[in-house]
């Protein structure tokens, strides 16, 4: 019931707030418009309270450490949606999805806060709310049909966010984003359909229920398993995104409004990794083991290429976008290790990047907002003008390059240790890439915050008229919360970390070990 509320109520409220002003007479419509922003914030804060309640063991008596692999908390009794083809409303959460649900309910209100004064807020904030419901829906649904519906539904609000509030080149970016990710998810749908048709010999036997469909993976012939795994990989890797299907991301990020970028990087990218673990790895452990070298190659390519490209970027947002590609590469590397530590590190990477990257995009967005440029080097010495912004930027950049005591560090170290345990000295490549990461982050920071021709004034872009202001209170508050959480989870990663490492070792024990043995790989 709780998960149903989490997924459906934001969609319902958001859609209502979008549609009502169109239908109501103009006077009543204007009234709806004026309170729509507060309403959205209220609903998303309520959802955050609910998800925090569900996550906190001491509050809800739900012991996330005690649930085994393949069983779920907060599960509902399935309700038939399309009984004819075996679709039901079946939701539940486990240690893989719970951190993501909590993260979604955290990032959305913060992104609303950061863009509290967005233009056309009566459309902007409800769209963010619809987005929240769709993303939570992806994480909670235990029925692949519903999963896919939510998966596609996330595209529509994001498409409009980019198209209506984006930068100068927004049309191209929105179109590219939509067609790229839509095509990929159709390929994924074909994979899901093959799995569905394999669940039975007549229509009454077939079902989209996750449990049934995952079990059907083992009844396929080996060749078919590999094909379906590949189809799923294309869908999930595009969302993540991994090199070579990452090219939509920089365009979408650069053009998207700040809140859109925050949600895109913070949560939407995680859907790819989530789906990959939930469906592809769980249903086809054998194929995952066989294609481990491919995962390593993809992860390594994303990591190295993403970092390398970052060094050449002059646009702040584009640089941050490529750094996301680079960090997502670590997730594939973590999964490829087939170690509990590595997979837990990948899961924690999803979570940590989900807190850090919204902070990075909030900072970049504030730059655009207050300095009207994103070119690195065209504004310098901003520490003098915007001390708060400089502080947040420094914190975010440090967290992203993996400074100890910050959330990103935990994940990176876990993945690298596990990688070393499995692949030995090959670990040098990702480890050295982290140096490149440090280079581009430190350079961009030094050139924007500190470097100045005139120690008293700094160099400001000519487009900026008058006295530059520091960031507004709501931007400041949003960034401060994210920054605080980055440090909190860097020092005390235990809560989500324990849950994730438990889930990872269960995944290895129940699914992957048997697959490795049958494929003749030493576990």
């Amino acid at each position: 019931m709780i998960l149903t509320i989490l997924a459906l109520s934001p969609i319902a409220v958001g859609a209502l707030l979008l549609v009502l002003p169109q239908i109501l007479p103009s006077h009543a419509g204007d009234q709806v418009r004026t309170f729509s922003r507060n309403m959205c914030m209220g609903v998303s804060l309520g959802l955050f309270a609910i998800s925090t309640w569900a996550a906190a063991h001491s509050l809800s008596d739900l012991d996330w450490m005690a649930i085994g692999f393949g069983s779920y908390e907060l599960e509902n009794t399935p309700v038939d949606l399309i009984p004819y083809i075996g679709v039901s409303w079946h939701v539940g959460a486990d240690a893989l999805s719970l951190p993501m649900i909590w993260l979604t309910s955290l990032v959305v209100p913060i992104s609303m806060l950061v863009e509290w004064d967005a233009k056309r807020g009566h459309l902007f904030h409800p769209l963010l709310l619809v987005m929240e419901g769709a993303m939570i829906g992806v994480f909670v649904s235990l029925d692949l049909f519903v999963f896919y519906v939510f998966w596609e539904l996330t595209l529509i609000p994001m498409f409009f966010l980019i198209l209506m509030w984006g930068g100068a080149d927004r049309r191209y970016a929105a179109m590219k984003f939509f067609i790229y990710t839509f095509t990929a998810s159709v390929i994924m749908l074909i994979g899901i359909l093959v799995m569905y048709f394999n669940t039975g010999t007549s229509i009454s036997d077939r079902s989209f229920d996750l449990e049934v469909i995952l079990a059907s993976g083992s009844t396929m012939s080996e060749g078919l398993r590999h094909i379906v795994w590949m189809l799923l990989l294309v869908g999930f890797a595009t969302k993540m995104p991994s090199v070579p299907v990452h090219t939509w991301l920089p365009d979408a990020h650069v053009q998207a409004p700040t809140a859109g970028s925050m949600i895109l990087a913070g949560v939407m990218l995680k859907m790819g990794a989530y789906g990959f673990l939930r469906v592809a790895v769980t249903a086809f452990p054998g194929s995952t083991v066989v294609f481990t070298p491919l995962l390593v190659a993809l992860g390594m390519a994303s990591l190295v290429y993403g970092a390398w490209v970052c060094m050449g970027q002059t646009n702040l947002k584009r640089m941050v976008a490529y750094s996301s590609v680079s960090h997502m590469g670590l997730i594939f590397l973590g999964i490829a290790t087939m170690q509990p530590l590595g997979i837990a590190g990948a899961l924690f990477m999803m979570f940590a990047h989900g807190i850090i990257s919204p902070l990075l995009f909030a900072v970049a967005g504030a730059f655009k907002h207050h300095y009207h440029t994103l070119e690195i080097g065209s504004m310098r010495g901003i520490a003098h003008h915007s001390p708060w912004l400089s502080g947040h930027m420094m914190l975010g950049w440090m967290a992203s390059l993996g400074l100890p005591m910050m959330a990103g560090f935990v994940a990176e170290v876990a993945v690298l240790i596990a990688f070393w345990m499995t692949f030995g000295w090959l670990v040098l490549l990702p480890a050295l890439t982290l140096i490149i990461t440090a280079v581009y982050y430190l350079t961009s920071m030094q050139r924007t915050i500190f470097e100045s021709n005139d120690p008293h004034n700094g160099l400001l872009p000519e487009t900026l008229h008058g006295e530059p202001r520091d960031i507004t209170w709501h931007e400041n508050a949003g960034m401060a919360i994210l920054g605080g959480l980055t440090i909190l989870f860097g020092i005390l990663p235990f809560f989500f970390w324990d849950m994730m490492s438990y889930w990872s070792s269960e995944l290895i024990d129940t699914v992957l070990v048997a697959a490795m043995e049958s494929e003749g790989v030493k576990p």
Binding site: D80, L81, I85, V149, F178, V186, T201, I203, S221
Partner: protein, 563 residues
């Protein structure tokens, strides 16, 4: 005559009787008060030697539309009653018509299509392209006179008479159990639709469309009638049950019977828009008004499938084993869907895109019919496939016709022939653009819209037929061991993926570029309400209790059709 009618449950034909009454009213009422009675569809005026000039109400250009909407609404209500309690509304009428769940569902499809067309036709058919529109300078009287000239009452009468005769023919055709009756009803509907296609005879496209559609259609019909005569020569009886019995007891393949059925396939293939008989269709759709094109893409296609079901599945299916038309049908379906999609990809005219998409959809349904012809289908799988096709035909009314209705709103400003007409529609008219987007997603088969469910049911049927084959472990040997009919399902999936691009292009173009016109589209309030309702229905029939309701009805209809 009356003695023959006595004892016959004529009340089962209530929807058709209502349409007949409406037709008579439509012929008589606009002549009231006139000294000369105009023969409909002609310029002949027969003097009746009574009265002078027409009454004001009889002259009103909106009158034919009102009568037609009222008639179709009453007729639809009668048909809906049958849908809700099929057992009370079933039975045989005479020895050529039967009312059962199948014909009730089809009647509902036909009548609701025509009802929506009538709603959309309100003030939509200009009589004379040269007539001037009233301007602000006109006073009330001269403005009204100009409007009347623009929407000539006589022309309106003709259009709406044709709508009603189409409905009458289609609705009776679904009920017929005799091939002769079936053909006569189908010709009634077809001849009316030929004229409807060419209704804008003053414009070049309209005339061309009407001529092409008429010539190709009448050749196809002639071939079909010749095939039917061969069947008569073979069996001496054209009732569906008699033919079916003879077919089953036939020793080997009789050349007369085979040739007859093959020729009828040509006629029905034209009706459903199957390649290679589809060549006139894009021209017809783009030349006709969007309303008529929508009618052709939904009701006329459903009519073709009714005929295909009766002749292919009921008559010419052997007791067991593959039917002789399986390979031909499979090939036709493959060519149809691929050709339709490829042509739609390269077309820049929204009406043509929808026309080709309608060809592609015919291909998907023919693939399902071909799966029945493979002879591998048990009774359950057969029912599933027919259910899927009937469900698809039903939901086509929702989203295909919906898309054409949106285009018909564009048409009044001349923007339905170019993709640019759709540019920036979202900014001008967010509600209609949103609905159009839903229709496009539904046509493309994106879950959770009804287009996905119908496609999945069809694929489900085809896969079920080939289930249990292809067990080998390596890909190559698996591919050779699987039944060939399985590849039809693969073709449907790949074609659907291909079709996404042109549907998305049409859907997304509405959100880009500067709009060409300004302000809301010209779209009357009822039509706007129905378009919104259709977009809600394309979701409601795709997921939840609505989908269950419609699938159950389609299933009941399939059970009633299959022996």
């Amino acid at each position: 005559m009356s003695s023959e009618l006595a004892g016959m449950p004529t009340e089962l034909l209530l929807p058709e009787i209502i349409m007949l009454v409406g037709l008579v009213a439509l012929i008589i009422v606009p002549n009231l008060g006139d000294a000369r009675f105009r023969i409909p569809l002609t310029s002949f005026r027969v003097p009746v030697l009574l009265g002078g000039s027409r009454f004001g109400i009889a002259r009103d250009p909106r009158l034919p539309n009102w009568i037609t909407i009222g008639t179709l609404l009453a007729s639809l209500a009668a048909a809906q009653m049958g849908l809700l309690s099929p057992s009370d509304w079933s039975g045989e009428v005479g020895n050529a018509l039967v009312v059962d769940e199948f014909s009730i569902l089809l009647s509902n499809i036909f009548i609701s299509v025509l009802f929506l067309c009538a709603i959309a036709a309100t003030h939509r058919i200009p009589a004379d392209p040269g007539a001037e529109a009233p301007t602000e300078d006109d006073d009330e009287e001269s403005g009204a006179r100009k409007t009347d000239a623009l929407f000539d009452n006589r022309r309106q009468v003709d259009f709406h008479i044709l709508l009603l005769t189409t409905g009458l023919g289609m609705s009776l055709m679904a009920k017929s159990t005799h091939l002769f009756m079936l053909f006569v009803c189908m010709e009634l509907a077809s001849l009316s639709s030929y004229v409807l296609v060419g209704f804008h005879k003053e414009s070049v496209e309209g005339g061309e469309a009407g001529t092409k559609y008429f010539v190709v259609g009448s050749v196809a019909s002639a071939i079909g009638i010749y095939g039917m005569s061969l069947l008569y020569l073979w069996n001496g009886d054209l009732s569906v049950s008699g033919l079916s019995d003879s077919w089953r007891s036939m020793d080997g393949l009789d050349p007369l019977a085979t040739a007859g059925v093959g020729m009828m396939l040509v006629a029905f293939g034209f009706k459903v828009g199957a390649a290679p008989f589809h060549l006139a269709i894009p021209d017809a759709y783009s030349g006709a008004s969007s309303i008529v094109a929508g009618m052709l893409a939904t009701a006329s296609k459903a009519m073709g499938f009714v005929a295909l079901f009766k002749v292919m599945i009921i008559v010419s299916m052997p007791e067991s084993g593959e039917s002789f038309w399986f390979v031909a049908m499979a090939a036709i379906s493959l060519i149809t869907m691929t050709w339709g999609n490829l042509a739609a990809l390269s077309s820049d005219n929204p009406k043509r895109v929808l026309a080709y998409s309608s060809v592609a959809h015919a291909g998907y349904m023919l693939a399902a019919v071909a799966a029945i012809g493979s002879g591998l289908a048990g009774p359950e799988a057969k029912a599933l496939i027919v259910t899927a096709v009937l469900f698809h035909l039903s939901v086509l009314v929702v989203f295909k016709l919906g898309a054409f209705l949106v285009l018909s709103s564009l048409e009044t400003e001349g923007g339905s022939h170019r993709m640019q007409g759709l540019n920036g529609l979202a900014r001008r008219d967010p509600i209609l653009a949103g609905s159009m987007f839903v229709f496009m997603l539904s046509l493309a088969g994106v879950p959770p819209f009804s287009g996905f469910l119908s496609k999945l049911l069809m694929i489900n049927g085809i896969v079920t037929v080939s289930a249990g084959t292809g067990g080998a472990s390596s890909i190559v040997s698996w591919a050779t061991s699987v039944e060939p009919v399985f590849w039809l399902a693969v073709a449907v999936v790949l074609n659907s993926a291909l079709s996404l691009f042109y549907y998305l292009r049409m859907g997304l173009v509405m959100f880009f570029e500067e709009p060409e016109g300004e302000g809301d589209l010209i779209c009357n309030t009822p039509l706007r309400a129905f378009i919104i309702a259709l977009s809600a229905l394309s979701l409601a029939f795709g997921i939840g209790p609505g989908s269950e309701f419609l699938v159950d009805i389609a299933h009941g209809a399939a059970e009633a059709l299959l022996p």
